[in-house]
Symmetry: C2
Subunit: 354 residues, 2 copies
DNA sequence: CTGTTAGCGCCTTCAA
DNA sequence: TTGAAGGCGCTAACAG
């Protein structure tokens, strides 16, 4: 037995000299409604404290068919630096609603996913959050049909399951606007569009960028294709620069691409943001570690986790539609100041730009 | 009710034409022991499949006082890119032992911690993992006394509670050895020792480094103090280089320090690894993103999570002592090749060193 | 080999 | 205002 001695409601009632019914009412906050005597209430509360009584939620759940526990099934969300914020947000929201989270990671294996669904159903969770690390269109496992479920960072267009997604198109607009606000109106290139990629964020971000520029009659100057990693971005941008290209601004489709882009720009002796402005997507820690600090449109992982839990607990609000969460701009120092033309910002103390 | 219709063991037994007892024995794998007829077993299994029956674990737990669920209470482990690996490891190990993890994040608030302990006790978890993001010496919350618990990445010297910690001293030796193996035997400095810091990893890593060098009669050339972040490290190392110091190798006490160090070395026009070798601790993703890739002694978070769960499930093995987990060296390209003296490695295709 | 029975701890209808 | 009693779904003596 993991915990010393088990104290039951009967023990409490006995010690307080009342019936378990009375004790139960009091502990469930129904003493007023049931007009329990103040005296009885006091004695029960004293007994609870004296005995360090904790209700057995399994017993309660058996009666009430509710567990105050929600399941969170993810592919790799717990790992990696990115989507783990979703976990934190979900956890905080669950805590705020007096719930606990039981989690499971599939590591991409559908069989494990099915297993986890079963395990959670057997534990009578009040609902399941189905989350993915990367924003994707995906089929909700059949096992989940009939369960109360909210999809996090993914969606199944075929089903009417509520989903929470970052508002990528608006995010793209925000990125573009951050450049326009600095007076940059030409020579804007995108880094990262990769035709092979199945994920859904890239095209949406690109669409938002194009929309925003288009409204100002500005043409996107071009797209540099590469896979979404540091090395591929470095290789692609370095090669592109060697071909003599010179951008005013680069919109990197994620922070790792931006890191590779920084390395390539540096290799070419181009100063950020003096000669080239850079804006990115993700808003990861990495953005704040780069020099100069990277301006990035953040994926609102914590907010998505929070909303996911709230929707799970409020089916009316959830409906069966998709909920878009705005992407906040995390300002860094990688976009040139609007007043300057081609020079960099003044150097801070102890800074060097090489 | 989150899930459609509830099927009970009684339904299964009825459909199979046996008693619930028989059905129960069969489903718990005791049919051989109880010598149940093959015919009965087949009918029961058919019924289970036909009805899509799932046992109600709450009911079972009420009887057995065991939940196949373990609690994981952390400060910020879910967030951040580092310790989340612990969660993954714990999750995988739990899965392997047919358990599920229920998690809670305290966000550093002891009151929330107490609350979470209560919530988990109420849910009758089989044990609790108490984990911290940073390796620390800390007091186990009083609420946990009497619970089956394993401390992860932290320990309470006053209590005889089993703990899992990275083997930092050996890690320090490994870092030092990686330099010695490259023929570097002088001009070795450490970056990051910060006298103000309460955490425990720094001194241990430093001790390991000193031990290893000392055995070869090599003196550590010096220590550059700074807080454990990118900016502070950049500032400290840049200032130190400006004073004319020129190291053979820098041992950075974590990867973010190494990133700042890279930036400072670059600012001073010093090539890594051609002119200065760098080795670090953490083994985070960041290490693989830097150019050249950073050689880093990894904190074995996943392995720690695995071991934590295993110990929680096996008290005999756990005992009441501290279990050290070895830190693996993640090789990068930031240490000069042993055959070369001061030149860098040959450039790969598409690479530039500026 | 299988069925009957008695709880696990809690909530809740019904009576008093 | 309080108490008695039944049952949530499952397991495990104890009989047959």
């Amino acid at each position: 037995v993991p915990f010393s001695r088990r104290v039951t409601l009967t023990d409490v009632a006995e010690r307080a000299g009342v019936s378990t019914t009375t004790a139960s009412y009091i502990l469930n906050g129904r003493s007023a409604q049931m007009r329990i005597s103040a005296e009885a209430e006091r004695r029960v509360r004293d007994a609870v404290a004296a005995l360090d009584y904790r209700p057995n939620r399994n017993a309660r759940s058996l009666r009430t068919a509710t567990t105050s526990t929600i399941g969170l099934i993810t592919d790799y969300v717990a790992s990696g630096m990115f989507a783990s914020g979703m976990l934190s947000g979900a956890n905080a929201a669950a805590r705020a609603a007096n719930h606990l989270l039981v989690i499971g990671e599939t590591e991409g294996d559908a069989a494990i996913g099915d297993l986890l669904v079963d395990e959670m159903r057997e534990r009578q969770v009040d609902g399941i959050l189905y989350a993915t690390r990367t924003t994707v269109r995906t089929a909700l496992p059949k096992r989940m049909r009939g369960a109360r479920v909210v999809m996090l960072n993914c969606h199944d267009p075929a089903l009417g399951v509520p989903a929470v997604l970052p508002d990528e198109v608006s995010g793209g607009r925000i990125a573009a606007e951050s450049l326009l606000a600095a007076g940059i109106d030409h020579g804007i290139f995108v880094v990262g569009e990769d035709p092979d990629r199945g994920a859904v964020a890239g095209p949406l971000r690109l669409a938002g960028i194009r929309d925003c520029l288009g409204e100002r009659d500005i043409r996107l100057a071009g797209v540099i294709s590469c896979a979404w990693g540091v090395e591929p971005a470095y290789d692609a941008v370095a090669a592109w620069l060697r071909r003599g290209n010179r951008p005013e601004a680069l919109v990197c489709l994620n922070d790792r691409i931006a890191m590779g882009t920084y390395q390539a720009l540096e290799g070419a002796g181009l100063d950020v943001p003096g000669e080239v402005s850079v804006v990115s997507f993700d808003g990861s820690d990495l953005a704040s570690w780069l020099r100069p600090r990277l301006t990035s449109v953040a994926i609102p992982f914590p907010a998505m986790g929070v909303l996911g839990v709230e929707l799970l607990l409020d089916p009316v609000r959830a409906g069966s539609s998709t909920h878009l969460v705005p992407m906040p701009l995390v300002a860094g120092d990688s976009i040139r100041s609007s007043s300057l033309k081609t020079n960099g910002l003044p150097l801070g103390p102890g800074e060097s730009r090489l």
